[in-house]
Amino acid sequence: MSKYDLPKKFDHKDTDILRQFITETGKIIPARVTGISASNQRKVTKSIKIARFLALLPYTDMHK
């Protein structure tokens, strides 16, 4: 139904799942575009931000 793979529990280590919710430039895609529930969007956002801190996901494509 949904165009995204949504796990039961979001984890900052599941980079493949989180990568669906960032753009090529590394930005988090807004809820009005993803269309997922507000509750899920909050969880996605939180885990992306943790993954960025641990260098699992980029903040931007301008690194280096």
């Binding site: 529990k9 984890d11 280590k13 980079t15 493949d16 943790i50 801190f53 641990l54 260098a55 280096k64």
Partner: protein
Amino acid sequence: MNKYEAVIILNPNLSSKVDEFKKDFEKLLSDNSFKIIKTEDVGRRQLAYSITNHNKGHYILFNLEGDPAKLLEIETKIKYNESIIRHLFLVVKEHTIEDSSLLIESRNKKPEISSENEAPKKEVKIETPKKEVKEVKEEKSDDSKEGTE
């Protein structure tokens, strides 16, 4: 008592000393009455951006249980450990029993592990040239004697 999930990124140049670090770290945890429920050695991984001029990092994950007040002491000690590039302690409601996706990913990439296994062979190789050097030195001393004659 809180349940914690810890991620520690080590300096990739110290990858061979990971076991030593693990022992030290486990000692530090047990000294502060922390219980280690699970450890995952993910191994070397490409970083999404460079941290203090490192492009790779050695990831280790821990599932812990302990006292929040003691955690501060651990963190102050970690701060001055130069082999740790980055660390994060997260409070979790429940620990995940399954292997993390990072560990599964690293298992699928086996070629890197085989290259690490070659490291001890290199050490053996280093020993042989040393002997050669000694022999060469002896020859040289002979030459110098001849020169003086």
